[in-house]
């Protein structure tokens, strides 16, 4: 029941980055690999193309961008103009009905009439090893109902032209026109704890470590740097924690009381200094990161959440959910120079070791 405009994560149809964007391709790949990815679907780049093709939108956007200089005032004005055009443009009805059908299918699958979803960009250039584009586009969380989902998808498309995205592209000499974007729509995880994990030690590039960072509630306050996460350094082979750093976590992001959107609240004092993961969960997350790395054959940066309701209807048994995975972009491009060790084996290398001062 996939149209050219949508594709479910667990679909067996052929998927390629060309239509799905980096983020959603990864979610599909990981779903197929058996990872506990919350269910969802992609609104493909074809859907975005259909929108641009309608009513001369593409031309209008290109015109608005022509001769744009990287001046903050000009960018703000042109960006706002383009975003309005994109949001005001009616979505072609085949696209709208495909998104609605896919959302309804998701609702059926998880057994909830208006399942809350996250709506995120999955752009072409995003999540590639060379450019992380992290946080350039908008994400909409805790969205319920087909109408609201469609609105969020539109705003996602429009976020291709946020001021910061335009400036980011300009600064890197990336093209401003001919852009594509797919959008991921994924069941929200009501997260007790969320965070990230990277399959190298970010401090020194040591590939035998996984660093897990975690905060209470949803992960946005970590990404924005408003809350310092707890950090766990895990040995990748033994899957044992070698270092734990607990930080005071003053705030958390939780679903709004009315079930739409999010609310920020103060973490009660007794919980601020408590590690927000159990050792078992740390290992589970590290294992998940290791699976993603194996799948891609290069270091990965994952986002995950620990479900507050692990026995919900969609449950696969695990409480840790994989929200996304992308290639690690720092150490993958930098040669690592570990401390010198003696070469070879045997008595001369042993001599060198014995004579090395200290340890």
């Amino acid at each position: 029941m996939n149209s050219p405009y949508t594709l479910a994560f667990d679909s067996s149809a052929e998927a390629g980055t060309s239509r799905l964007g980096g983020k959603c391709t990864a979610l599909i790949v990981m779903t197929r690999a058996g990872a506990p990815v919350p269910p969802g679907f992609v609104v493909t780049m074809d859907a975005f193309e259909a929108l641009l093709d309608r009513g001369g939108l593409r031309r209008a956007v290109d015109t608005a961008l022509a001769g744009l200089v990287a001046d903050p005032g000009a960018v703000a004005a042109r960006g706002a103009e383009i975003r309005c055009m994109v949001i005001d443009q009616p979505v072609p009805s085949p696209v709208a009905s495909a998104v609605t059908a896919a959302y309804e299918e998701l609702c059926r699958a998880v057994g909830c009439p208006d399942v809350a979803v996250a709506v995120r960009s999955s752009a072409e250039m995003e999540d590639l090893t060379e450019a992380s584009c992290a946080g350039q586009f908008d994400t909409f969380l805790w969205i319920r109902g087909a109408e609201a989902v469609l609105g969020a998808v539109r705003r996602c498309w429009a976020s291709l032209w946020t001021d910061r995205a335009i400036i980011y592209r300009a600064a890197r000499g990336l093209p401003q026109t001919g852009l594509h974007m797919a959008v991921g729509v994924q069941q929200m995880v009501d997260a007790r704890t969320s965070g990230a994990a990277v399959t190298v030690n970010p401090a020194d590039g040591d590939p035998s470590k996984i660093r897990v960072e975690a905060i209470w509630g949803l992960g946005q306050l970590m990404v924005s740097g408003e809350v310092t996460p707890d950090a766990y350094l895990v040995d990748k082979v033994l899957l044992s924690t070698v270092r734990t750093t607990v930080s005071p976590k003053h705030q958390e992001l939780v679903p709004a009381p009315d079930g739409h959107g999010l609310a920020r609240r103060v973490v009660e004092e007794g919980r601020q200094q408590v590690p927000c993961l159990t050792q078992g969960e740390v290992v589970e997350i590290a294992r998940l990161a290791k699976t993603a790395e194996r799948q891609y054959g290069c270091p990965q940066d994952i986002e995950w959440a620990v479900d507050k309701h692990p026995n919900g209807s969609t449950d696969t048994g695990a409480t840790v959910r994989l929200l996304q995975t992308r290639p690690e972009t720092v150490w993958s491009r930098r040669p690592r120079t570990p401390a010198r060790a003696s070469h070879g084996a045997g008595v001369s290398s042993i001599l060198e070791t014995l004579l090395r001062p200290g340890r």
Partner: protein, 604 residues
């Protein structure tokens, strides 16, 4: 509440425990802190070797202490010429053994390095052949020890000696036998160290490589790649499992699950035909595998399986009971081997190709030489020293019968030179035909010493002496004794500190259960199924007891300590080197042991 200290006391400032005054004179003069050496002795930092000598050492027992450090030092200093390290010097203080590693003078290091390359290089290059030769030398030493006997002196020399013109008296064999006993012990303790430090050095080379590539790699990850799965040290325990299974197969298991199995159990079995089949297997296993001590081989009081059948029979009974409950008693060798290969393969895959070649070469050598580090323990501590102590007890019993001391094993309250004097007393008076002086001299003196030793044993010894160095960088202290800067800080912390304990993450996994504090192998019977074993230190001979426990916690020992190795082998969580677990945790307390993180949590 006491505050943390910054240094350990000087041995010269400590007063003798009550009723132990004059303890210094129980030991040879060069083993104790002498007033005239004070300045030099206080310059050094000494830590207590509670791993090998957890309890008070009796005067005669210092023979083994001395010969061990003589052997250890000799190979570092004089044979292989290890460039930066001489041996380890030791002192007996208030009955306990304290160590201080000795560095080679800086100026000698370059010349020593050249000699080391040649000498150690030869051993590494010819390891297997030399080791085969070693085995022959050790077995020869054991045979020679076995041939010594200390029997009664005859009323008159046999007439045949007259005819043969021997011209030597029976006391000659006695005096010569004693000297041979000591000489063979010395020989065995040289062989003990012939390969040992080289084995550790190769391990260290691999260890440091791993630490440099992956700075926070857990020590247990490195150990898991090197340590073997099938080792002779585990053979005695494996034999017991086999005997337990055989008993069930033959249907003679009922006779073996009696409440207090012992010599009488074997007699009972010999009366039934299938029992005799089982006894054949028992006797086949006995030699050599029951030359296995319940202790660590370094004390005269060690009990050996071959002489005390109740020990192995007790373990056989436990295994039979577990078989009846349908439990698997085999070590999961295939699983352990597969896990070792997984760990090795995954770490190797993280390396670029030049580093990977180094990794594989170093690991290859470490794996070749490391089995010795474990297996020598069976040949020397268990087997050779077992015979040594048996012969020494024979001599003690002989002089006891001659009235020299009240207890059969009281000779161990004398130093080895005092024993020689007593033996001369015995021999000369036999020759002359007079009463020896010993029976008038020694009984009271032995009683006095017995009281002193008991008083020393009641005292909780200091973990170290004098001011600690700012950092412990000597890798062998860290690897073998678990002496780290952190450990020293925790020793210096105020006693009675509350809260959880930390130590070395020695064997992974988490377990909760009831703590059982075991201070000596004689207490092993107190262990209940599912307990957590808490001990100052464990010996390899406690191995069969590990079948009953859920986890192990020790005061002393690093990741390569015996408790750690056995626990990894048996897939049990272990935290070693906690410093004070056996005094801070009381039997019956519920605790959680996290062998992955190296923590012990007191529950309830």
């Amino acid at each position: 509440m006491t505050v943390s200290r910054t240094a350990f006391p000087s041995p010269y400032e400590m007063t003798a425990p009550a009723a132990a005054e004059g303890w210094e004179r129980l030991y040879p003069y060069y083993m104790v802190f002498q007033p005239w050496r004070r300045a030099a002795e206080e310059e050094r930092f000494w830590f207590r070797d509670s791993q090998h000598w957890p309890t008070v050492v009796k005067p005669f027992e210092t023979v083994v202490t001395e010969l061990a450090f003589k052997g250890q030092g000799q190979f570092n200093t004089r044979h292989f010429v290890v460039p930066p390290a001489y041996g380890v010097t030791f002192r007996i203080h208030q009955g306990y053994v304290y160590l201080s590693p000795v560095a080679a003078p800086e100026s000698r290091i370059p010349a020593r390095a050249q000699q080391f390359l040649e000498r150690a290089g030869y051993y590494y290059a010819n390891w297997d052949r030399l080791l085969e030769n070693w085995k022959g030398k050790v077995l020869g030493t054991i045979r020679e020890l076995e041939s010594i006997s200390f029997g009664e002196l005859p009323e008159v020399q046999p007439y045949e000696d007259i005819e043969a013109g021997v011209g030597l008296g029976a006391a000659d064999a006695l005096l010569g036998g004693y000297d041979r006993l000591l000489a063979l012990c010395q020989r065995a303790l040289q062989y003990h160290f012939e390969f040992l430090n080289l084995g550790y050095a190769a391990y260290l080379d691999f260890f440091q490589f791993c630490k440099q590539r992956s700075p926070e790699i857990p020590d247990q990850g490195i150990a898991a790649m090197v340590t073997g799965v099938e080792m002779e040290l585990f053979r005695p325990d494996d034999e017991l499992r086999k005997l337990a299974r055989l008993a069930v197969e033959l249907g003679v298991d009922r006779a073996l699950t009696v409440p207090d199995p012992g010599e009488h159990t074997l007699t009972a079995l010999s009366r039934e035909p299938r029992g005799r089949d089982w006894l054949d297997a028992w006797n086949a296993a006995r030699d050599p595998w029951f030359n296995f001590t319940s202790g660590n081989g370094l004390y005269s009081s060690d009990r050996y399986w071959r002489d005390t059948p109740s020990l192995p029979l007790g373990y056989v009974r436990d295994y039979i009971l577990r078989l009846r409950r349908g439990e698997a008693i085999d070590r999961r060798l295939a699983e352990l081997a597969a896990e070792r290969e997984r760990i090795t393969g995954e770490y190797a895959a993280l390396l670029d190709s030049p580093a990977r070649a180094d990794f594989e070469a170093k690991l290859g050598l470490a794996r070749q030489v490391y089995p010795y580090v474990e297996n020598h323990n069976f040949y020397i501590e268990h087997w050779t020293l077992g015979v040594f102590w048996r012969k020494a007890r024979e001599l003690s019993a002989l002089l006891h019968r001659a009235g020299f001391w009240p207890g059969a094993n009281d000779m161990f309250y004398l130093t080895r030179d005092e024993v020689r004097a007593a033996l001369f007393d015995h021999a000369s008076s036999w020759a002359i035909g007079v009463e020896p002086a010993g029976p008038g001299h020694w009984p009271a003196e032995v009683e006095r010493r017995r009281r002193i030793v008991a008083a020393l044993a009641r005292q909780h010894p200091e973990p170290a002496l004098n001011e600690p160095p700012r950092a412990i960088t000597e890798p062998f202290s860290v690897m073998l004794w678990g002496i780290t800067s952190e450990r020293i800080r925790s020793w210096l912390a105020a006693p009675g500190d509350v809260g959880d304990l930390t130590g070395m993450a020695a064997s992974p996994g988490v377990a909760e259960g009831t703590a059982r504090v075991i201070r000596s192998p004689d207490d092993l019977d107190l262990l209940q199924e599912g307990d957590i074993l808490v001990a100052p230190v464990t010996a390899p001979s406690w191995t069969p007891a590990f079948g009953k426990v859920r986890a192990t916690v020790t005061d002393i020992g690093g990741v390569m300590s015996h408790a750690a190795i056995v626990c990894r082998e048996y897939s049990l969580p272990a935290v070693t080197g906690t410093g004070s677990a056996s005094t801070r945790i009381k039997s019956g307390r519920r605790i959680r042991v996290d062998g992955t993180a190296g923590t012990v949590t007191l529950l309830d």
